[in-house]
Symmetry: C2
């Protein structure tokens, strides 16, 4: 008998008072002693590091690539299979640990929210964010990893994609970053809604005059007046930059935006590394989501898709960043993590040059192709080079793990469920000590699947019995094509227990509301057309 202490999930436990989801306590009751021992090892190694590093924890550079399916970076053989080129990222992978079982949420906003808050976005209403103006976003009440680290002596900077809301409280410089440079929206509005994309037939219906002006009767249907690139400093209003009133957004603007974020990241590395405080720098590039074939003078990959060509660019840029880290002499006191936020959007495969390869499906579904990504961690002297680990890990775990490594774990809120587990032992000691054998897979606010180690159960449609659930063996059937009825017949009951515990925990610690506000609030130089668009939106909104 295991004699599980069934006090979970209704109270905080000894682990710094952090409240985890119920499933964690099932495992802690079975492995708590080993974990405590692992923690001692980790604490000793982190203490030694700080001693070498002038008493300071390491810098953290976190690079999050948008929409890249598992296998698209860091594995040389896959380059040959796909006709792609990621030599710098492959070399980076060899310098550290490849996390072979990193789970994310199924799309951009949820994955980014899970990283920032350590919580499944269902807990804070951010399972998705509308593409255009929404008046919603990350709430002030959420505590981000930037806030946690900032409270513990870190300089914090965010560069690139953000996509967690269009209201003042949700902007990165209001969520723990000292400085942020970011587009308020995502790449559909930046890379798709351009005259070039219309001309190449990648997009239809948006450009005035194209497609026979299909929405001519209602001038408010098509977004006109979108805010693009922003800059913000903690405690100040944001400013829209690099765009004038009356201008038309084009591919050239989008290209310039990529270059700007890359350049700013290098500049921030130079600036931050000269400071006395450690830094937490996020670079979340917009590429390789590129639809414009004409921007490439010559196609250099055997694949030739715009996304694959752009990935080659990203690879070079990532290499430039790593070169800069090394040149600045901060390699050994900087933890660098590179990963993708979710799998590719399958719909654009033929243009971008990607396609379903190892795992089935992609972004916005709940198959492994949506939620399994390549992830790599480098920290010379602290993380063993050229290693791989098969332990399960979820993007939310990085919240807790970064806090631990940054000496900031005590700043994690204890009044809410933190899904992210401390995986410092996995990063620092390598394969084996992972603390997770489960992942809850949400579509938006609906639980769609539960992974327990090797098997993934896809929840049956409402009204169907538990034994009708599809259970997949993720090793034997990575494409999730052959559900195993014989396993569902017994295991669905155990999965039901997991789900019940998960729901009970959420009852004890109810979900928070999404942040709400006036779209484009907190921007000091809103253009007239943006103001008009917001007014149109507000005219029928209640908030």
């Amino acid at each position: 008998m295991l004699g599980l202490a069934l006090t979970f999930p209704f109270a905080a436990t000894a682990e710094n008072g952090i409240v985890h989801d119920a499933e964690y306590y099932i495992l802690e009751a079975q492995h708590g002693e080993v974990w405590a021992s692992d923690d001692q090892t980790v604490d000793a190694r982190l203490a030694e590091f700080r001693e070498r590093n002038g008493g300071k924890p390491p810098n953290i550079l976190y690079v999050l690539v948008d929409d890249l399916s598992f296998g698209e970076m860091g594995i040389p053989e896959m380059n040959y299979i796909r006709g792609s080129q990621t030599p710098r990222i492959n070399a980076f992978a060899d310098e550290g640990l490849s996390l072979m079982r990193m789970y994310t949420e199924p799309s951009c906003t949820p994955s980014r929210v899970a990283l920032m808050t350590g919580r499944h976005p269902v807990r804070n209403g951010l399972g998705e964010v509308k593409a255009t103006v929404a008046g919603e976003g990350l709430a002030t009440e959420e505590v981000t990893v930037a806030e946690v680290l900032s409270d513990n002596g870190y300089n914090t900077v965010h560069i690139g994609k953000w996509h967690m809301g269009d209201i003042e409280q949700s902007y990165p410089h209001n969520q723990g970053f000292d400085y942020a440079s970011f587009p308020i929206h995502q790449q559909v509005l930046l890379g798709f809604m351009t005259p070039e994309s219309d001309a190449s037939q990648a997009m239809q219906g948006w450009l005035p005059g194209s497609s026979n002006d299909p929405f001519a009767l209602d001038a408010t249907f098509k977004p006109d007046g979108l805010v693009y690139s922003m800059e913000g400093t903690r405690g100040e209003l944001a400013r829209e930059v690099d765009f004038e009133a009356g201008e038309r957004w084009t591919q050239a603007h989008y290209d310039a935006m990529h270059q700007k974020y890359q350049t700013e990241t290098i500049e921030q590395l130079q600036r931050l590394s000269a400071e006395d405080k450690p830094f937490f720098l996020q670079y979340w590039p917009l590429i390789p989501l590129e639809f414009d074939r004409t921007r490439f003078d010559t196609i250099e990959t055997a694949n030739g898709g715009t996304g694959v060509e752009s990935l080659k660019q990203l690879d070079k840029w990532f290499g430039d960043i790593i070169d800069e880290v090394d040149r600045l002499g901060i390699a050994e006191n900087t933890l660098v993590v590179l990963m993708a936020d979710n799998g590719r959007f399958r719909q654009f495969d033929s243009t971008l040059g990607f396609s379903q390869t190892i795992y089935r499906g992609g972004k916005v579904d709940t198959s492994e192709g949506a939620i399994r990504v390549n992830a790599f961690a480098r920290w010379p002297g602290m993380i063993a080079e050229d290693t791989l680990a098969g332990d399960m890990i979820h993007i939310s775990d990085l919240f807790t793990t970064f806090a631990r490594i940054g000496g900031a774990k005590d700043s994690i809120s204890t009044d809410r469920i933190i899904d992210g587990l401390d995986q410092s032992a996995l990063l620092l000691e390598g394969e084996g000590p992972g603390r997770r054998d489960y992942v809850f897979v949400y579509g938006t606010d609906n639980l769609a699947a539960v992974v327990k180690q090797k098997f993934k159960l896809e929840l049956p449609a409402p009204g169907l019995p538990g034994v009708s659930a599809k259970v997949y063996d993720l090793y034997r059937d990575p494409g999730e094509q052959s559900p195993l009825t014989e396993i569902a017949l017994w295991a669905s009951a155990s999965y039901q227990d997991i789900i019940e515990r998960h729901m009970l925990a959420a009852q004890a610690h109810p979900h928070s509301d999404v942040g709400r506000g006036h779209p484009y609030s907190g921007i000091e130089n809103l253009r007239p057309e943006s103001k008009t668009m917001v007014e149109n939106f507000m005219s029928w909104q209640k908030n």
Copy 2:
């Protein structure tokens, strides 16, 4: 204008008088000068090697694994994805060149025939061989790589699977090998037709007394009296070994057969390396095709399928062989090539633990999943370590390449089409100088598809126009799921030219007949039950 010399494919050309397929001459006309220069480099390097090696060409150890899909060996990341373990093969891959675009034929016999003869098996009637007694096989008139090397001073030994016929002329010791130890049939009859397989419901209908004896009215329908393991020495009759008259073949026999071939390979390495002559040693193991779950005391892989467990065994055994090569001090004068003969049989995926992953389909179809395999070549000092090459290569190319490296190219027949191209420059100089941008893909005797570099055209059904062919971009769409009509509309015409040239060449050099004879001929100790089975077969046969 290229000014192609359109004398092909009707006459032998300058290249040692070897006659290749028409497509080769299209490329030779465009790249012949570069190839001549590459050949000079290769010749110089081979000459230097022989000088260092007492005037002798290198040993060649050729390990051919049965039925293993691309991605199942040699790529550490894939081990994590599949829950499999091939650490020794992965390490071996790092010591040499990974051929990332090795094509084979779609199943065992054709692939092995292509290797042995350098010819597509359609040219010698060996697109398939019947599972039980057939009275057919590799004809005496075919010239094998073993004969070519043997004629040029090599000791030659074959150990393990053969599966190129059940007639005397087709046995390996009658096809150029000094000694051979091999089962006459393949694994269905060895691993499937056992009481253990019947008990586990992997096989039905064969074991007397099981399945309500479904063929009780006709005692000749079920093969009874199959010959199993054989040994043969050049110029002598074969002997069946390790099986007595009246015995019932069981899993224990199959297990013992695996161990025997592994042990014999090690022993032959020891014996051959002590000889003055160089050796050509083939080891073609029967594992990982294993269906008996009960033979594994403990399951050690996360996957747990019998094939994946058995692959772990194969990996260890392959490691033992490489260790022996190294221990014997012959590493630097031994070219070791490891590859699979074709993709997995998808039907047994759930038991074996494999499944479709990178490429679609498997054995006996004509998708990339059937004909793309992992292949690795190691030759310290001659082949660069830890490299990959994306050049196209076909298993038949190894015939010509082994002959070239063995100094035996002049012994290649000049009176028939040799499909295999000399890819020595690719092996020795690494990525780039590959001589092939095409592969003809045969089902059995029907041309099913043509690969030209990046695009694969699947021939339309008879009676449909060429433009209805499906054309796949193998980089953007490795799963061959989205045929590109826009490419078929122009490229199908060029593909038709390729096919016409290919057919014209076959008219000028017609196909040979398959070897025919008395089943189980050339065996000195045929058991009574085997004689009876053959008599039953011959009673209605004409040959």
